[in-house]
Symmetry: C2
Subunit: 381 residues, 2 copies
C-alpha cells in the first residue's frame, strides 16, 4: 500500500504512519496549511518549507472560479503553477458550495450555485468536481459530497448521507488519473479519498463509512464536523467512528482545527488535518503558543523583548521580538501577518511532530503538559 | 576616510566607491530600498538579502510617531528591532514634516506640526531630529533641513537654504554619537550627512553646498528634488551641482527615483539613492523590466508561462510565472505584492550592479541598451 501504519499508541487509537504520494511522503499525523486560492496567504513556498510542512491544501471551489482549472492545467498543474513541489491535496468544492455560494438548486445530478466572486451561475457535480481536480493535478483529491450544516433535521442528514454515497461512487468512476504505485517510487496519478458524512448521528456515520469502504478509496475523510457543534459533540462522534475506518488507509478530519481538537482526534485514530487557523489568526494578530494565544496588538507587548514563543524554533521567533511584531500590526505593515502566520504554521507542525514522537512511546497524554493549549479551549493571554 | 572612491568614469562624473559603516560596507552607486515604518513592506530581511541590497532606509518621522525613538532604543536600536544587521540610513524627518503633516508653525527654532496618525501636536528641530536619530541608531543619519516644494518663489527657496544651513550647523553640534573610524574595522557611531537645498536655482544650491562643506559632514545629500519638477530640470540641476560636492565624500540624491533618473544622476556624480518605487509599484502590480513596466493585472498575462523578466535572477523569477502573479493580484493574495516587490528591488540592484561594472570600463552608455527603461520615461507594456 501507499499508506503504511508505522506505530500505534497502546492506550488509544492513535497511530503514526507515512503516506507516499507522487510529490513526496507525508508523515502522519499530519497538519495541512490551507492555500485557498493557490497561496498560503502571505507565506511563500520557501517560507512554508521552513515550517516543516509536508503537504498543503488548496480549495477546488476557489481555484475553479479563479483562475479556472483549465488555466492551472495550462501551467502544468497546481505544483508548477504555485511553486510548491511537495504534496498537495484539493478538496472537492462541496463544502464551499454549501457554505459560501448562493445555492440555486440541488438534486442528485449536482449543485447549481452563484459564484461568490461575480454571481455567475455555475454547477458542480461529482463528475465535474473530479474533472476539475484531475486538471488541477493534486496528489490527493476528494470525492464530491453533500455537507449538511449542524444542526440539521435527521431526514436532511440522512438524505445527505445517501446522496454522498451515490456521489462517491460516481466520483470514483469519473476519476481519470487514479494513483498507481511504482515499486521503489512515489507512484503516479492522484489518490482519491471518500468523504464520510452523517452529522452527529453515529449510525448514519457508520452507514456512510461502510458504504464508502465498499467502493474502496485510497483514504477516507470525515466531513461535516467543525460546522457548529461543540468540541465534546465532535469528539464523541470521532470516538464512535474514526477507529472503524479502514485501518490500512489514511483517515482525514476535514477543516479541523484547534490544537485540542487535533489531539482528541488523533486519539480517536485520525491521521490528517487541515485548517485555516494558523494563517487566519496570524493575519488577525493572534499568535499561537503552547499556553494559548498572544494578542499581538495588546499594549503589554510594546516593550517586550521576548520572541512570540521562547520554545519555538521558527524563523520569526529566531529574529523578531513581540515588541516589533506588535509595532508591525499597529502600523498596518504586511510583515505582521506574514511573520505571525509563519510562526503559527510552525507551531502546528511542532505540535504534530511531538504527537508523532509521543505515540510510539505510549505517552500521548504528555502533550497536554507540553502544550497546555491542547487541554482546554484556547484562550487569549 | 570611511568613504573611498575606487574608480571614475573617464567620460562623466560617475564613480564607484565603497562606504564603510559600522554594519558593513556599501558599494556605490547604491540603491536603498525604503522601510518607512521599520519594514520593507511585505519583504522580510531574509528576502531583502536575496536582492543583494547593501543598505536600507527608514523614516525618522514615521518611527518617531510610532513606535517612538525611545521604544526602538529600548530594543537596542533599529538594527535589532527590525532584524536587519546591514547598514541603515535614517532621514531627518524634514521632508515628511513638510509633505505629510499639517504644519502649525515654522520658524528658526523648528517646526510644529500635527501627527498624520492621531493629530497630536509635535515639534521637530535640528536638536530633536538628531536626538531621535541617535536613539534609532542608524549607521547614517541626516541633518534636519527645510525642504521647499517646487515651484516656490525665489525668496522662499532662499530663506529655506539659509535656514537649512543654520539647521545643519545645529544638527552637527547636537550629534552625540559621531562616527569614529577604527583601523581595520568598520568603526563605531553614526555618520552625519548634510542636505543641500536650493530648488532649481544653481547659485542657491552652490551657496548651500559650500556652506555645508565648511561645516564638514561625513557625506552630502541633495534634497528637494523629485518634488514636482521635470526630469530635464532635475538633471540640469544635478549636472550643475553634483560634481561640486566634496569629491571624497558620498553624494546622496534623496527620494530618487526612476531608472533613468538614477543613471542621469550617476553620470552627474551621485553615489546613493533611495526610493519607494520598487515596493510601491510592486504592491500596485507593476513589475519593472529592462524595457519598462509590466502591469500584472493585464489579461495578457493570464496564460503567460514566462517569468516577470527572463534576464532576472531573483527568487520570484526563479519560481513563479507571470500567469501566477497575475492570478495572485486578481485574487487579492498578499503574495502578489510580496513577490513583485522582491523582484522590483532586485531589478534596481541589478541595475546598480551593472552601473558599477560599466563605470570603470568607461561604458556607462551601454546601460541604455541593456536597460532601455533608463533611456526614456518608463512606460507600461
Amino acid at each position: 500500500m501507499a499508506y503504511e501504519v508505522i506505530e500505534v499508541d497502546p492506550s488509544s487509537h492513535a497511530r503514526t504512519g507515512k503516506l507516499v504520494t507522487p510529490h513526496g511522503t507525508v508523515r502522519t499525523p499530519a497538519f495541512m496549511p490551507v492555500g485557498t486560492c493557490g497561496s498560503i496567504k502571505g507565506v511563500t513556498p520557501d517560507q512554508l518549507r521552513t515550517t516543516d510542512t509536508d503537504i498543503m491544501l488548496c480549495n477546488t471551489y476557489h481555484l475553479a472560479l479563479r483562475p479556472s482549472a483549465d488555466v492551472v492545467a495550462e501551467f502544468g498543474g497546481l505544483h508548477k503553477f504555485i511553486g510548491w513541489d511537495g504534496p498537495i491535496l484539493t478538496d472537492s468544492g462541496g463544502f464551499q458550495v454549501f457554505s459560501l455560494a448562493e445555492l440555486n438548486r440541488i438534486d442528485d445530478d449536482g449543485v447549481e450555485f452563484k459564484s461568490h466572486i461575480d454571481g455567475a451561475i455555475l454547477t458542480l457535480s461529482p463528475e465535474r468536481s473530479i474533472e476539475i481536480q484531475n486538471k488541477l493535478g493534486a496528489d490527493i483529491i476528494m470525492a464530491f459530497d453533500q455537507c449538511p450544516p449542524l444542526p440539521s433535521t435527521p431526514e436532511f442528514v440522512s438524505d445527505a448521507v445517501e446522496r454522498t454515497i451515490r456521489w462517491a461512487a460516481r466520483s470514483k468512476s469519473a476519476h481519470q488519473r487514479p494513483y498507481e504505485k511504482r515499486s521503489n517510487q512515489e507512484g503516479t496519478g492522484q489518490k482519491l479519498f471518500g468523504i464520510i458524512q452523517g452529522g452527529l448521528d453515529t449510525d448514519l456515520r457508520l452507514r456512510c463509512l461502510n458504504a464508502l469502504a465498499d467502493i474502496d478509496f485510497d483514504g477516507y475523510a470525515i466531513g461535516g464536523l467543525s460546522v457548529g457543534e461543540s468540541h465534546e459533540e465532535m469528539v464523541e462522534c470521532l470516538n464512535a467512528v474514526a477507529h472503524h475506518m479502514p485501518i490500512d488507509r489514511p483517515r482525514y478530519l476535514m477543516g479541523v482545527g484547534m490544537p485540542r481538537d487535533i489531539v482528541a482526534a488523533v486519539r480517536s485514530g485520525v491521521d490528517m488535518f487541515d485548517c485555516v487557523l494558523p494563517t487566519r489568526n496570524g493575519r488577525n494578530a493572534y499568535a499561537f503558543t503552547p499556553d494559548g494565544f498572544l494578542k499581538m496588538r495588546n499594549a503589554s507587548h510594546k516593550l517586550d523583548n521576548a520572541p512570540l514563543d521562547s520554545t519555538c524554533d521558527c524563523t520569526t521567533c529566531a529574529t523578531f521580538t513581540r515588541g516589533y511584531l506588535r509595532h508591525l500590526f499597529q502600523a498596518g505593515e504586511m510583515l505582521g501577518p506574514t511573520l505571525t502566520s509563519i510562526h503559527n504554521i510552525r507551531f502546528f507542525q511542532r505540535l504534530m511532530s511531538r504527537i508523532r514522537q509521543l505515540i510510539p512511546q505510549g505517552k500521548l497524554e504528555r502533550i497536554h503538559e507540553e502544550f497546555p493549549v491542547t487541554a482546554h479551549c484556547a484562550k487569549a493571554e
